[in-house]
């Protein structure tokens, strides 16, 4: 049972090996209630692998995952979703041949949905005008909003977004940040955002965990991270860093 002071998510020594390759090496961190945590690192750092393990799509080679005090290591994705762990995917993940409305409707699978719930989410993400359209014919940016709408409709306690800002120009990214802030205002849940866009992450996250080559090399507030020697070294010379500040 949940004890007071339990963290929402706790990862201890999580490791994933693919044959001889170690994708994630002994990573540990904590996510508290109502927090926005960023998971950042260059491509290949192991971010998505880590995310896949947390959400049950990959079984860890070793280590454990605790959600609300309960050991959920190795649980299936659908079971974790039942517990409140919801995610989005890197590649646009929608139900292509269904309408926007139906997409969100399906996401209410775990509970008794009401028409009101669905329209609420449509409103929140400004998708009302697209309600009847087929998901696959939506413009890219709207599709990505739909992804988040679907995830929201599943009533997450912990929402993990996989590269939500990928393929977005600075304008769209700003809008995304505003959307996310607005959503978080009304509902209480924690957010883990995986991305490699420094500017985006530092602008919205309360705390950041930095991965490099599968290992956690830094953790702290955005300000602390931006001033950490190792982080600067990794990102120096890459456009993602020069854009921040």
């Amino acid at each position: 049972m949940r004890k007071r002071g339990d963290n929402l998510l706790e990862i201890r020594g999580l490791t994933k090996r693919f044959g001889g390759l170690i994708a994630v090496n002994n990573v540990s961190f904590i996510v508290k209630e109502d927090e926005i945590v960023g998971l950042i690192g260059p491509n290949g750092a192991g971010k998505t692998t880590l995310l896949n393990m947390i959400t049950g799509f990959l079984k860890p080679s070793s280590g454990s995952i605790f959600f609300q005090g309960k050991d959920v290591t190795g649980f299936s994705p659908y079971y974790l979703a039942k517990l409140g762990v919801i995610r989005t995917f890197q590649n646009t993940s929608i139900f292509p041949n269904l309408s926007v409305f139906q997409n969100i409707e399906i996401a209410t699978h775990l509970y008794k949905e009401s028409y009101k719930d669905i329209t609420e989410i449509l409103k929140k993400l400004e998708l009302e005008e697209y309600s009847g359209e087929h998901a696959k014919s939506l413009p890219y940016g709207i599709q990505r909003k739909l992804e988040i709408a679907i995830a929201l409709a599943a009533k997450p306690k912990l929402l993990l977004l996989d590269e939500p800002a990928a393929g977005m120009n600075p304008e769209e990214t700003l809008q995304l940040i505003n959307d996310l802030r607005r959503i978080k205002e009304e509902k209480e849940f924690s957010l883990i955002i995986v991305d490699h866009n420094m500017k985006f992450i530092t602008n919205i996250c309360d705390r950041i965990v930095v991965l490099h080559r599968g290992e956690k090399i830094a953790e702290g507030t955005p300000r602390e991270i931006l001033n950490t020697k190792e982080v600067i070294e990794i990102y120096l010379g890459r456009s993602v860093y020069s854009a921040s500040n």
Binding site: Y78, A81, I94, P96, H109
Partner: protein
Amino acid sequence: MIILKGTKGKKSNVLLISFFIPLTLILPLFIKSSFFIHMLIMSFINAILAIGLNFILGFIGEKSLGHAAFYGLGAYTTAILSTKFNLSDWRSLLISLLVTAIGALIIGFPSLRLRGPYFSIVTLGFVLILQLFISNGGVLTGGPTGLPGVKRLEIYNPFNNNVIVLSTDISYYYLITISFWFCFLISILLVSSKIGRAWTAIRENLDLAESIGINSFKYKLIAFLTGAIMAGLAGSIYAHYFSFVSPKLFDTFVNINIVTMVIIGGEGTILGPVIGAFLITILPEILRFAEELRILIFGFILLITIIFAPKGIVGTITNILIHEKER
């Protein structure tokens, strides 16, 4: 025509069904040709098979190539119970369905974790193994030449403590028609329920479905099991009707035939498999095709359908209607 897409029931759907049900029931009064009655019986049997296969093939999207396994299991269980154990009533029917269900669980558990061609190949493997065992089952299963002498179905009449033996073709027509409507209504119920929505989600994007709490394995199993039991029912009735079963019931051709019915009619629709079944059963007879020509032509039709009209007859018509509405 919403019934074609299987969304929530509407008045027009109820009207449609309430017209067709009595129509099929009074049909025998107008048809004197026993050949045509036989055609209708086979059509309804195939329709039940196609509806059952459609759950896993059309709604979930996994192309099972082993559906005939359950048809054969139902038929053979009934046949064996009737010829070896002298049991030909509701009890043997129930046992046949049970055996089919168990078979579906045995086949389903290993294979439903697989996807795409792997799933198809494994289901094909299972049905071939079954065929092998039946062919080599000696006296129990009648071997490769089949098992004749299946007795007629007996229905216990509680009113006068008597047993009614279904011996005429017409009695089997009614039996199969009632069974068909039963299966048809169940398919409507399932598809318009949460289960049906989960199936659609799995077909559209399995990972996404899992990530929002849908246990894909459970729903795949429901689709697989329901379809299998329906096939078993069809098989049992067939055994009583035809009085003869053979390993050919499991044949690859039968499997591909049922798949063809579903795809040509329209996979993932409710009416599609029914139309496909009737077309493939009756058309060759009307046009008097020889056996090999039949397979050739349906092979072509299947190919053309896959390339040019992948949604099948019902799916394509529904699409056209929707586009008309949106104008």
